[in-house]
Symmetry: D2
Subunit: 352 residues, 4 copies
């Protein structure tokens, strides 16, 4: 199934970190949607924001829409877009063609593509691919917003620091570079990142994503449950190692009587009293918010010397990465998680 996601909206993704451009094609976007570019730009900006260098703010990636839009309105034809790669200036990647970086795709990709894959900056496996994901996802998100469905996410933990509070929906969260439930924790999280950075190391964290106002009855039992589709997308985002819904792994430690979300009627509306199942039971939405957590591993690019191998000579070597790398991608990953979620939900809703 290669690089195509979805049944009702097919999203095809392409590009390499240091190639000509990254981009995508939304094959079945609804017609007549007047694109809200400032809204889309807001999300692309968040994706570009690097945690440690808040002073020097990156510019938004500039995209070019190639088809499917006329006078800013979708035509219904495939919507193709590209985001050109700047500063792909001839860095020397010859070392990385020999020495595979631990924790990265280099070695599996070397085996899969028999060494023909582009390693520069991770090639097609780069976090750079979250740019087209965010662009396409933001279009899906706009369509969902127009139905009253809102998506937000926030960082629950960075390394060993976890914020105990929960965040309710707030417009600010959608535009926040570093969305958290409790602003007091943003500093604590930054400190974790700073510490890791100074050691030439990196940290990961956990993101919670919430989808509000999604109707009950969305999803398929086998094999396309809301959880299946959402997890499938989330595990396409680089560095994601775990996905759980509602209480997730924690739910295994409580009794059924505590875990079951009882129903109640208020003003003729049926709803659940609690939401331990993250808004999904039997694979289908039950009317509560869809809530899930995503585990993002520490950035594999670190500046400590690491043991690795030369894939050509098959000898043991020491790898010492240089340059400048984000020592924590968790804040930036929030918008990728939200964007992926938007594509999943729009697809489950029939693409309309």
């Amino acid at each position: 199934m290669g690089a195509v996601f979805g049944k009702n909206i097919q999203f095809t993704i392409f590009g390499e970190s240091h190639g000509v451009a990254v981009g995508g094609v939304l094959s079945s976007v609804p017609h007549g949607v007047k694109l809200d570019f400032p809204y889309i730009d807001m999300f692309l900006k968040r994706r570009n924001h690097k945690a440690l260098y808040t002073t020097k703010r990156q510019e938004t990636d500039s995209y070019e829409i190639l088809s499917g839009v006329k006078d800013g309105v979708t035509t219904g034809a495939p919507l193709a877009f590209i985001i050109r790669n700047k500063d792909a200036k001839g860095k020397d990647y010859s070392e990385l063609e020999r020495l595979v970086r631990p924790g990265h795709s280099d070695y599996p990709a070397f085996v899969k593509y028999n060494g023909f894959n582009d390693v520069s900056g991770g090639g097609h496996f780069s976090g750079r691919l979250t740019a087209p994901l965010t662009f396409a996802g933001s279009i899906a998100r706009q369509i969902l917003r127009d139905k009253g469905i809102e998506i937000y996410s926030y960082v629950m933990s960075v390394g060993n620091t976890a914020c105990p509070s929960e965040a309710n929906y707030a417009k600010e969260l959608q535009s926040a570079d570093f969305p958290v439930a409790d602003d007091g924790y943003k500093e604590k999280f930054m400190q974790e990142i700073e510490n890791a950075s100074q050691q030439g190391d990196s940290v990961g964290g956990v993101i919670r994503c919430v989808i509000k106002n999604i109707p009950a009855g969305v999803g398929e039992p086998f094999f396309h449950s809301v959880e299946s589709e959402m997890a499938s997308m989330m595990f396409s985002i680089p560095a994601v190692k775990g996905v759980e819904f509602g209480k997730g792994f924690e739910i295994t430690r409580i009794k059924g009587s505590e875990a079951n979300d009882c129903y109640t009627v208020q003003d003729g509306e049926i709803s659940t009293v609690t939401n331990n199942n993250g808004g999904v039971t039997g694979g289908i939405t039950n009317g509560a918010d869809v809530v899930f957590q995503v585990a993002v591993k520490p950035t594999p690019s670190i500046f400590k010397p690491q043991n690795t191998v030369d894939v050509n000579t098959k000898t043991n070597e020491i790898l010492q990465l240089k340059g400048r790398h984000d020592s924590c991608i968790v804040p930036r990953a929030t918008v990728a998680v939200e964007s992926g979620a938007a594509l999943v939900i729009l697809d489950l809703l029939g693409g309309k």
Copy 2:
């Protein structure tokens, strides 16, 4: 995509808990495979085993192969099979057509199918559907076994009791009714289940699944990573609320320098020194065992009175379930997890 899984082997699943039969169709199974029925039966037996009543052992579900097999050998044509439902004797489900069970699919299904869905025993959403999953998965598993790829799983925790040790591959694990890493813990787990049962309550747990001898280079970056495909399948298994690979959520609490799995060469073979990433980096296998954990929530069927609603009258009601229910499906779920994993891996390997 309804009830069809896979790109290279399409597995279509069907049936309801109390309907005529459950079953499935493997559309693209390789030809010339002499089915190992005792091997398949071993897994169906495990699925039928109920934790608390080990004395009175259930018989294996008896299946009927309808097509695709000649003289016990696959022909390459679609392999269809059914497992008839016995004891679907006219229990009275009229109450469940009114009162939706918390934690079950009843309410979302009522909304999705506008009340036309079959609620008896959970209908199409029942754990009963893991029988065709296990049958089809065991065929996939046999094909993998013939390539040297072995799959096993074990229960890591039940409720609040967790077993610290890890299990290595052992033939016994594949046939164990209640696979655990340390036999001393089987009793502790049974005690947790017994306690919950006596309170009319239920418990969940965590299962670890391991796939041995899978080659490096399997999987697709976007959107069909090994993690995406595996999680998609796991979240189709009733009661699964979380899936994580390798250290999973725990990996967010360590540094990149600890999380990265360094490479080494021994006897000309490249391998990782550690396996914190569960055998997958960049969405593609790296040659280490594929290792993942699955969170299984407490069985939603409990015997304590629960608050719920009458979906027809939209009034608040108390639901009191009767009859006999398994107060922990975790041991039985192990074989469903292994079977689903087998289908995913065979599909990723091209169905051959």
Copy 3:
């Protein structure tokens, strides 16, 4: 994609001519459809009707619905059904395992499945598979009928005898064993068949299928035009060698000024004056009837000696078929064409 058809309704087909049963699964049939069994039986009867033996009328195939239906109404869960094979009594097919029948699938299947395929009665390639196609198609057809969309077809030619007249929609056509536009031609067609039969030979013919009251705007430009989807289905029906829409190949012999279907407005309704394009332009329905012709080749099973090879010894041999074969499947094929068309249209309409 193996034996699965459709995006919105996935229809999985299985079975062999002389296996236990043929059948299928409709994965995403709408819920709440009260099945009209006499309507479905009418079509299964037509499929069973053998042109030359009108006196001794065959019984309808008896089907068993395994899932997805409760009290005769669809639940929305996968609808699985089987039609058991009777009289698969141990005929001796050993010769056919050596000598491949010209015009049949025997040789290509032998190569594809390395000799493991079931050759008895054509195995999975048998016209017998049109039974599940007809059953599933008739359910789709009932759903379309309830929207006012009617499908009918008729035999335009048998061998060298062609009927010049066109048939308009008539209820009788839907139940006719041998639907024709002009009853006078039925006898002429029967004569062609009789002659061929007496020579131990066979004849083919052309079928026209018409879909009435389909709205404009159905279909996709690339790659899922109405013509693409319809042709793809038609070429899955055994013995079909050509598919054309509207004037089809004939349209290449007229000028654009004659071929273009001009538009007109009557009572505020836009319609085409002519229908040379068979109701589809740019791959999308234009509001006129969808009209297409299907070429059905002469039944490959004939009783004249034929040159063939022994696939095992790779020697030239003479094949002399015995038994009783239909010397013209064209009349029976009409209902398969209509049923396949119903599945295609329902799928293009979103499965609802």
Copy 4:
């Protein structure tokens, strides 16, 4: 499935005639293929060639590869490319937004996209889309060529003039602007086109395509026969109204004894004596050349006044097209047919 073709190679197509660019993405192209650009250019040139103006030869469309290729060699990552539209200079299409052109997609597209579709030059429905089809198809074709599989096609008829002879494979045919079996007929065909052009009218024709050296055993019985897949692709090419294999519709007029392709063994090789079935029986290749014919209707763009309607006011109107249009696209269509065929065969071969 919107604008995505194929199971093993997913080809996503996009673009509008007068938009920024047309292009496509090959999601799963094999790695390590050194692209033969002169070979690809040869086919793009053919597509650009306009029958009547042979003196002033068009330049090849210039494409830009955005991803999936490094140093001219495929990496295995999605191969995205664009072909920018020149001369999309602000022609006035306001009339076409009111008056739908008979024989074109204008009206069905107006209904499907509720008037939001781009009508300029046919928008996404334009023959312009055969440019990305040809580019992607030529890559597939190169991969097939390296396996010894060659594809060629030729014009069998234009309007009422048909060339009786058959063409065998010849390198020249692959580069011919106007491929024919008998050069004497090229002039006759040109005369037909010239005559139509002078009358402000247009003509169509029939193209035969041949695939040489394809192995036996390729294809699936249901629902993905070679004929199903090939016809599905052909009917995505604008103006195609019929597809037939081997003798096609003609086979309905001969007896089974003449139609069946008998087998023979020569030098231990099994082959068919005749090829009336176009190399496909039971939906699977039988080792003979795959041969099919495609009916291309007369270009709908003509300069005679035509009756049509104003879709906004719903009034009858007369449409008088201006500008310069190809009065016969048949010669140019040959390379689109060959390119589409290459994608289908590569996909059926597993994408490798």
